[in-house]
C-alpha cells in the first residue's frame, strides 16, 4: 500500500519559523499542493496577514503581498478587481480576520469577491504572545484573560464560517480541521475545491481550518491536537456552511 | 563606576530571570541598575541574551556593545559574545554544555558545570540560579546573602521549589 510523498513545488524549501508541531505548516503544504494540482502557481498572488503567518511569503513559491493587520481581504479585492486573471488567496489568523478584520472579510464575502481565503482558527493570538482572540473558548486562558475568557464580559467565541454562511450572496464557505490525517485529507480537498471555484470565477471561497498553537496554549504538540479535538470541534462544527448552486 | 554583565543562552534557560535577580539585588544595595532584554526577531529560537547595568550614577546609554562580564550558558553564546568582553572581565562558562574554553587570556574564566550541579540539587531547571550565585560569589558585585534573599522572594509564589533553589544557590 505504499505511496510516494514529496514537497510541493509551490512551497519553497526554506525552513519555517513556526514552533514545533504548529499546524500552520500543514496548511501551508495543503495550499501549495492545491496550487500545484491546478497548475496555477505562475498566476497566483498570495496575501500574507499580520500574525505568525506574516512570513508566509518566504514559504510559498509565488508572487506575494503582505497586508496590514486584518486588511488582507481588501487588498485581495484590489488585486482581483484590477487583474481578474490572477488567482488570489489570503491566509489569515483569527485575530487578523475575526477581530480587526471583521468588516473587511464580511464585505468581501458579501460582494462575492472572486478570491480564496484560508482562515486559521487557533483560538488565540499567536505572534503577539497569546492574547485573547474572538475565537478563544469560554474559560480558556490567554495573556489578556488571565482567569480564562469570561463570556459575561466578552461574549461567546465567534464562528466565522457560520456567520459568513448567513450572507445571501452565493459562496463556498466551509470549516475543516487538521488535527488528524483523515481531516488533513478532507481539508486538502476543500482547499482545492475553493481554488477551483475561483478558477471558474464562480464565487468567493472560504476555508476555515481549526488549528493548534501549542506554544501559547502551553501544551505539547500532541496534547494540543487532543485539546483541539475535545474542546474546539464540538463548538466549531466541521462541514460546509454554504456551497454555490 | 559602572559594570555591565551580559547573560546569554538558549531561550528557556532562565537567563532573563538570573539577570533580573542580580539587578534586583544591586538595586537593593542602592546602585543604579538597568535590565535590558533582547526582544524581537532574534528571540524566536536560537540565542537569547540580556544585559544588566550596575552603576553608581544615573545610567546613560543602555546600549552595551562591550560588557564588563559575560555569563555564557551555552556554546553559541560563548562564541558569539566572548570577544566583546572588556579586558579584565569575567567570562562565566557553563561547562555542562560548553566543552571548550575561551581563547582570551586577558579575562578571568570561571568554569562551572551548572547543569550537573543543578541536577544534583534536584532539577536542571535551577541551573540559572546555580550560575547566578557562582558568578555573584566570584564577581562580588552584590552581597550574597542579599542576593539569596532576592531569590527567595522571587520564588515566594512557588514555595515548593524554594529549597531546591536555595540548595542550588549554595552549591553555586
Amino acid at each position: 500500500m505504499g505511496k510516494s510523498f514529496s514537497q510541493p513545488a509551490a512551497l519553497s524549501t526554506t525552513h519555517t519559523h513556526y514552533c514545533p508541531g504548529c499546524t500552520h505548516g500543514i496548511v501551508h503544504r495543503l495550499v501549495a499542493e492545491a496550487i500545484d494540482d491546478l497548475g496555477i502557481r505562475e498566476k497566483t498572488v498570495g496575501i500574507a496577514p499580520v500574525g505568525c503567518a506574516v512570513l508566509a511569503y518566504n514559504y510559498f513559491n509565488c508572487d506575494f503581498q503582505e497586508a496590514a493587520h486584518g486588511r488582507a481581504p481588501a487588498m485581495a479585492t484590489g488585486i482581483k478587481r484590477v487583474r481578474p486573471d490572477l488567482m488570489v488567496f489570503t491566509y489569515q489568523g483569527d485575530g487578523d480576520l475575526a477581530s480587526i478584520g471583521m468588516g473587511e472579510i464580511i464585505h468581501a464575502a458579501n460582494r462575492g469577491e472572486k478570491f480564496t481565503t484560508i482562515f486559521i482558527n487557533n483560538a488565540i493570538y499567536g505572534m503577539t504572545g497569546g492574547q485573547m482572540a474572538p475565537t478563544t473558548m469560554p474559560g480558556q486562558r490567554a495573556t489578556t484573560a488571565p482567569m480564562g475568557r469570561d463570556t459575561a464580559e466578552t461574549g461567546m467565541p465567534i464562528r466565522m464560517a457560520n456567520l459568513l454562511g448567513e450572507l445571501v450572496t452565493p459562496g463556498y464557505i466551509t470549516r475543516q480541521a487538521v488535527l488528524k490525517p483523515q481531516q488533513v485529507n478532507k481539508a486538502k480537498k476543500a482547499i482545492r475545491q475553493a481554488f477551483q471555484y475561483q478558477l471558474e470565477n464562480r464565487c468567493f471561497s472560504f476555508v476555515e481550518v481549526v488549528s493548534t498553537c501549542p506554544t501559547n496554549w502551553g501544551m505539547t504538540p500532541v496534547d494540543a491536537l487532543k485539546w483541539a479535538e475535545d474542546t474546539l470541534l464540538p463548538y466549531y462544527e466541521l462541514g460546509d456552511y454554504k456551497v454555490p448552486e | 563606576m559602572q559594570t555591565e554583565i551580559k547573560f546569554a543562552g538558549f531561550g528557556g534557560q532562565g537567563i532573563l530571570l538570573s539577570a533580573k535577580l542580580l539587578a534586583y539585588a544591586a538595586m537593593k544595595q542602592g546602585s543604579f541598575v538597568a535590565w535590558i532584554p533582547s526582544y524581537g526577531p532574534e528571540m524566536r529560537g536560537g540565542t537569547a541574551y540580556c544585559t544588566v547595568v550596575i552603576s553608581d550614577r544615573l545610567i546613560g546609554s543602555p546600549i552595551i556593545k562591550n560588557p564588563t562580564h559575560l555569563v555564557a550558558m551555552n556554546r553559541p553564546s560563548l562564541e558569539k559574545f566572548e570577544q566583546d568582553v572588556k579586558p579584565g572581565g569575567i567570562i562565566f562558562i557553563n561547562s555542562s554544555l560548553i566543552p571548550v574554553q575561551s581563547q582570551r587570556t586577558d579575562v578571568t574564566q570561571l568554569v562551572v558545570p551548572v547543569n550537573d550541579i543543578a541536577i544534583e540539587a534536584g532539577s536542571v531547571r535551577a541551573a540559572n540560579i546555580v550560575a547566578l550565585s557562582a558568578f555573584a560569589a566570584k564577581s562580588k558585585l552584590v552581597d550574597l546573602a542579599l542576593l539569596k534573599e532576592c531569590v527567595k522572594e522571587e520564588f515566594a509564589a512557588k514555595p515548593k521549589i524554594i529549597p531546591l533553589n536555595m540548595d542550588a544557590f549554595d552549591r553555586g
Partner: protein, 72 residues
C-alpha cells in the same frame, strides 16, 4: 516497485506528531540535537514501515518524504 522513507534531520523540529500517528509505531524521537536545537525523529523500526505516508501528512515541516525507488 519499492518506496524509501526519508527523514530530513535538519527540517525536523521533533514535534512528535508523526510518532503519534504512525500506525506501525515506526518512529521515535532521537536524543541528538540538530543545528536548530531540536531533537529530530528517526525510524526506530524501519522494517515495520508500510510507507502509508501518514507521517508525511501530519508533518508540519515536510521533513518526511517517501520516494519511489527502482530496485525492489
Amino acid at each position: 516497485m519499492a518506496f524509501q522513507h526519508i527523514i530530513d534531520d535538519e527540517r525536523c523540529k521533533g514535534c512528535g506528531l508523526c510518532v503519534n500517528f504512525c500506525p506501525k509505531n515506526v518512529l521515535e524521537i532521537t536524543d541528538k540535537v540538530n543545528a536548530k536545537g531540536h531533537f529530530p525523529v528517526h525510524q526506530a523500526r524501519p522494517e515495520d514501515c508500510i510507507k502509508c505516508s501518514i507521517c508525511c501528512i501530519m508533518c508540519p515541516d515536510v521533513a518526511i518524504t517517501i520516494v519511489e525507488t527502482q530496485d525492489a
